[in-house]
């Protein structure tokens, strides 16, 4: 890696990759060289289950502004969800 900026966490959920839906076990957020987007660096977000193979991965590359907007959306949505009292 060029930046060493990368954080991983255990997650529980499902993602849809090239082979269809699969259980997601790990989320990684990094900031490093983009693979596909035109930017030199990007937020690299992966939802993966490497026990199923390297291609069990849902990948997104975002610019920083998009990342901040996504954080706000997540926080707002989670707060609204918790306010409802509905179970997951």
């Amino acid at each position: 890696m060029c930046t060493s900026i990368s954080e991983s966490s255990v997650v529980s959920g499902a993602g849809k990759g090239p082979g269809g839906w699969f259980p997601v076990t790990q989320a990684t957020v990094g900031f490093d060289h983009a693979t596909h987007s035109a930017a030199e660096h990007a937020l690299l977000i992966d939802f993966a289950n490497y026990d199923l193979g390297t291609d069990a991965r849902v990948a997104v590359e975002l610019d920083l502004a998009s990342g901040r907007a996504l954080v706000r959306q997540l926080e707002a949505t989670i707060a609204a969800a918790e306010a409802t009292g509905l179970r997951e």
Binding site: D32, E40, D46, Y50
Partner: protein, 257 residues
Amino acid sequence: MWNSYRTDSDLGITAEITTFEGGDGDEIHAYVVKPTGDGPFPGVVVIHHMPGWDEFYQEFCERLGRHGYGVIAPDLYCRFGHGTPDDVAAKVRSQGGVPDDTVVADCTAANKWLRSQSWCSGRIGIIGSCSGGRHATLVASKAPGFDALVDLWGGGVVAAADQATPTRPVAPIDLTDQLSCPILGIFGNDDQSPTPEQVDVHEAELAKHGKDFEFHRYDGAGHGFFYYHAPMYRQEQAMDGWAKIFDFFGRKLRSQS
């Protein structure tokens, strides 16, 4: 130099993926390119960049091969599994990157592999870009047996102590006194990693330790300006950079053989 061959010369390469005994005795993949003929040819260890052991690097090796170098490019991510280069690179990223010690061990083994080939002259260079530039600098500072080093915009060669990670515990600049061969550095002045100021720091450290170094910096270029598959490509600067690589390797690996 580009287009400097004769049209009646014995020009060709063989290229293949093979396995060899890498660091710790692990069998890992390598992309190997050899010029046509029996040699002797100088050898080059090529270190791929952060995005992985990818198609760009296969073609990078082939270009060196067409200019008369026997090349081995170890798959530094081989132990993490297989898939498309970006998928494998993502898995490596999720685990903090490939450990420096593994890179040094694999490149040391690659050097040994080259020396064992009947066609190899015994003069060995090492080259890498991006994280590979940093890795190449690290390897040439920790492992013996290299005669020339090319650092292409290696990010993280200059790093503060608080930027150390478990996989990257040491900044290569802190090993400058141990650098065992001449170094060619190629950089873009618009790069953010390394910045021109970091290149200055590296250059000053090389001078301080009396090392044989040549640094070239290009205006109008940033990071990765050789990458013709990406918007960062800068044709004029890239071709001049390649000319400098062939000139440097020619002087350090051929004329002294």
